[in-house]
């Protein structure tokens, strides 16, 4: 069970009341990782959503990918494919600080809560859309930059 004060700071759980936060907390566990320690690997089935409570987490994709690396800081979530229809992690996640405290959230447990309380589902999925959207914008900027460079080279 995770402290509600910690949970309410997580970007997708902001503005939830204590009743809903307590329900979400039932799906959570805190895990501590040391620098360089792996959290999950790209290609693994995504069963958990993760949130950084303390420290930093590095996400790395295959070298040929457009967005190769990104960092996730406190209050941010990662591992969002777990709540989508094709739940496979696309990045490899590892601890990028001396130690990182991470909240592991059971995706099946969350989905069950959303079905019982659609307003909770609506709020969390709206937040998650922003998270994925921001990550998409980051990727898009990288792709546009690269493509622009390719075009400049052609000229």
């Amino acid at each position: 069970m995770v402290n509600l004060d910690t949970l309410e700071k997580v970007e997708v759980f902001k503005d939830l009341d204590d009743r809903r936060l307590s329900a979400v907390a039932e799906c959570c566990a805190e895990v501590v990782f040391q620098r360089g320690e792996g959290i999950f690997k790209a290609g693994e089935i995504a069963r958990h959503l993760w949130a950084v409570a303390e420290g930093k987490v590095k996400l790395e994709a295959e070298p040929a990918s457009a967005l190769k690396e990104t960092e996730v800081s406190e209050t941010q979530v990662f591992g969002w494919p777990c709540l989508l229809t094709a739940p496979t992690y696309r990045f490899t996640a590892s601890c990028a600080a001396r130690s990182a405290k991470v909240i592991r959230i059971d995706a099946a447990c969350l989905r069950e809560l959303f079905e019982k309380d659609p307003e909770l589902g609506y709020r969390v999925m709206s937040g998650l859309l922003c998270v994925i959207g921001n990550r998409f914008q980051q990727l898009q900027e990288e792709v546009v930059k690269r493509r622009g460079q390719d075009m400049m080279n052609q000229w």
């Binding site: 659609p118 709206s126 959207g133």
Partner: protein, 247 residues
């Protein structure tokens, strides 16, 4: 406003009841355009969620001093798919421009405020739509992230020449094999067409592969097996299969 039947076909409304679809139908606005019509421009405020009803819409970035046709496409959106999700994501601005890319296209749009009002009244609808939208953006993220591993961002046009001579020589088998390959994964940048004879009846079935920015390559005497190889090696990896190229 328009009927709700077509709205129901949109992927973002999957899982909604008929009643929920009907209430969304109240806010639908239909727009028609011809090839090259700009629906919105990058940097503009994003105030609507859009859905392609017919045709195709391209999302791309603009180049200073260039015309609309020179907008560089990042994502092609086919019928039934939504775009303009930036209306729900801060800073609520379009990062890409949207253009009709088929000869004619019809799109629906719904005002963000109207949608949010519906979701507040019916959170179950809000949950489904937001979950579907998150899935859609996630799917596009994966596609864009992986697209650099194959043919980098290039659009591909595959033409199967299907006049009587081509059909007699087995062009249908070729088309079926291509449809099968295309259906394995969402690849909106690859389009397949059929056309008439190119005057090379003896080498039918002929197939032309045209990758954006490269010279077209005509393959001769194709069958299901050969065209699958062309698809996986040339279309996806950029390696021309010289042994079957029509010289």
């Amino acid at each position: 406003m328009t009927g709700t039947d077509e709205t129901m076909k949109a992927d973002v409304f999957e899982g909604l009841s008929e009643g929920q679809i009907a209430s969304l139908g109240q806010g639908v606005e239909e727009l028609r355009g011809v090839k090259g019509r700009r629906l919105f421009k990058e940097g503009e405020k994003a105030g609507h969620l859009w859905i392609v009803k017919e045709g195709q819409v391209d999302l791309g970035f603009e180049l200073p001093g260039r015309t609309a046709s020179e907008v560089h496409t990042l994502i092609a959106v086919p019928a039934g798919k939504a775009f303009g999700w930036a209306c729900f994501v801060p800073p609520y601005k379009h990062l890409l421009s949207a253009y009709c890319s088929s000869d004619a296209c019809t799109v629906f749009r719904l005002e963000k405020e109207f949608l949010l009002g519906c979701f507040d009244k019916d959170p179950a609808m809000g949950y489904r739509v937001m979950a579907n939208l998150a899935g859609l953006v996630g799917e596009r993220f994966n596609w864009l992230q992986g697209s650099t591993k194959v043919v980098p961002y290039a659009r591909v046009k595959i033409t199967v020449h299907m006049a009587t001579c081509g059909i007699a020589a087995g062009a249908r088998e070729v088309v079926n094999a291509l449809v099968d390959e295309l259906s394995k994964e969402d690849r909106p940048h690859i389009m397949m067409h059929t056309s008439g004879c190119i005057g090379k009846c003896k080498t039918e079935p002929n197939v032309t592969v045209q990758i954006e920015g490269e010279e077209p390559v005509i393959y001769q005497k194709m069958n299901g097996e050969k065209v699958r190889k062309v698809f996986t090696e040339h279309v996806l990896k950029g390696v021309v299969q010289s042994e079957w190229v029509l010289v």
